[in-house]
């Protein structure tokens, strides 16, 4: 099957997903379950990575900006910019594509190979709508929160690292954080996050839903899903940046 065929099949799948849920109460239950699996269970890894990456960014900046004519507060400024514009929305999404993407592909793929999806279809349930829509909504709602958390913890991690290693003073760091603050950068970050959240939920769902074979194929589909999700995120990141910031 070629790429065009896969792309067409992907959009046909989206058409099936975006239908009115057959029973709202079941949809609500699934949504809360997915919020826990996809969102709440990702808080730990997001917090951990963001905190340490923030610290590393500050240390790298401080060690590379040794020129006395460059003010120290620029370390805080550069940290904020890199976390808000790139690290939190893009890098965090790629990390989540690995964690959540493989979960989505393996859970749906296992349901496919054990005939659980057939069981839903035989009953008259729109299986795509039932299985994937809650995942998309949960991702789109929860990822902006995760990215916001990542930004704050990254900045905090940077401050802790900078101050503890004596590379920058707290007032300089805070001055840098406040310099040339453009609220649109946060909007840009959130727009990217919502788009990436959609990609993270749908591409792995596609790979899981159409898997054929057994457990080996489910594993392969998981790997493929993570690779393709990351590729699509990187490409979309380029176009979104071009469209929104240039």
């Amino acid at each position: 099957m070629n790429y065009i065929e896969h792309t067409g099949k992907y959009f046909v799948m989206l058409k099936q997903i975006f239908k009115k849920p057959q029973k709202w109460i079941i949809f609500k239950e699934s949504l809360f379950r997915e919020m826990e699996d996809i969102g709440i269970n990702s808080i730990g890894i997001t917090a951990f990575i963001s905190f340490f990456v923030g610290g590393v960014v500050v240390i790298q900046m401080a060690l590379n900006l040794e020129n006395p004519f460059i003010p120290r507060y620029l370390i805080g400024y550069a940290t904020r910019m890199s976390l808000v514009l790139e690290f939190s929305p893009t890098l965090m999404s790629i990390i989540l594509a690995g964690k959540v993407g493989s979960y989505i592909t393996s859970s749906i793929g296992t349901m496919r190979v054990t005939e659980q999806i057939d069981a839903l279809e035989v009953m008259g349930v729109n299986s795509l709508n039932y299985l994937v829509l809650p995942k998309i909504i949960a991702s789109v709602i929860f990822y902006p929160l995760l990215v916001t958390l990542g930004i704050f913890l990254g900045i905090y991690g940077g401050m802790v690292a900078g101050v503890l290693t004596d590379l920058i003073s707290m007032p300089d760091y805070i001055t840098g954080l406040r310099t040339d603050l453009d609220p649109f950068h946060f909007t840009y970050s959130m727009i990217k996050t919502v788009v990436f959240a959609f990609v993270i939920a749908t591409i792995p769902a596609y790979h899981g839903y159409y898997v054929q074979g057994g457990s080996l194929e489910v594993g392969r589909a998981g790997t493929k899903a993570v690779v393709w999700t990351s590729v699509v995120i990187i490409v979309l990141n380029y176009f979104l940046t071009q469209m929104l910031l240039s």
Partner: protein
């Protein structure tokens, strides 16, 4: 009643089902038998609407499946119960939630009413004390019984079973076969079972259809199995010495 007229189905240019016709009556347990690869599962999936046939007609009490719109098809599927070969229970749900799922999805019932119905069907399949267990905590036979409970919870008109006793010991197989047969008679359901187990044929087969290489090679009752000279039947059924002996005893060639 389900009527199948001259259906064909193939994949990637290879024909799996060729000109298969059959009638399945209400209140009777019909068995589709045949070797592995004979097209039994494809046939069942065509009846279930999981595969579209290339030619032919499948009608449920006069309703031609191909002529129905998506919404009416979904409605029709609410009248169908299916027991999958691997049970296909939802791993993340308990036994109670698995059985309750179709009612929750398609009916407007209170929690109390749903629970009452769930307990009723679980009792019917002799699984009274397993409501809170997850599928991973159940034995193969118990999973099959939960799958049967889920399939009958909405009082279906049509019940399909794909090798319901595969992987089970003979005692549990007989139990599952009899359970399906009893439910069929009690509720006047049209039941179709895919099997290659001759014990099932002897236990509950009121109508038997033998598929061979995608064709319907033979149909008849379980008694007729012993008297037919059809080559497809004799080569499939009497490949086992046990059934050769059973036939001899049954047809009077040997006295015990």
């Amino acid at each position: 009643m389900i009527e199948v007229k001259n259906i064909y189905k193939g994949f990637n240019g290879v024909e799996i089902l060729k000109d298969v016709s059959a009638v399945f009556e209400n209140g009777k347990t019909s068995l589709i038998i045949g070797q592995s690869g004979s097209g039994k599962t494809v046939f069942l999936k065509c009846l279930l609407g999981l595969f579209e046939t290339e030619k032919g007609i499948i009608s449920f009490d006069g309703r031609n499946y191909a002529d129905l719109g998506i919404k009416v098809r979904r409605k029709l599927r609410e009248e169908i119960g299916m027991v999958f070969q691997g049970s296909a229970l939802y791993d993340s749900l308990t036994v109670e939630e698995n059985v309750m799922f179709p009612i929750k999805m398609f009916k407007n019932r209170t929690q109390k009413e749903m629970l009452l119905r769930v307990n009723e069907v679980l009792e019917r399949v002799n699984l009274e004390n397993s409501n809170k267990k997850y599928p991973s905590e159940l034995s193969g036979g118990m999973k099959k019984r939960v799958a049967i409970a889920r399939a009958i919870v909405l009082n279906p008109k049509y019940l399909f079973c794909d090798e319901p006793n595969s992987g089970l010991d003979p005692q549990t197989s007989t139990l599952i076969d009899n359970l399906i047969h009893e439910i069929t008679v009690e509720n006047n359901i049209t039941t179709i079972i895919n099997s290659h187990d001759m014990n099932s044929v002897m236990e509950i087969g009121e109508k038997i259809i033998l598929l061979k290489n995608g064709y319907k090679a033979w149909d008849g009752t379980k008694d007729e199995v012993f008297y037919t000279d059809n080559e497809a039947v004799t080569s499939f059924v009497y490949s086992s010495n046990l059934f050769k002996k059973v036939r001899e005893v049954y047809t009077g060639n040997i006295k015990l």
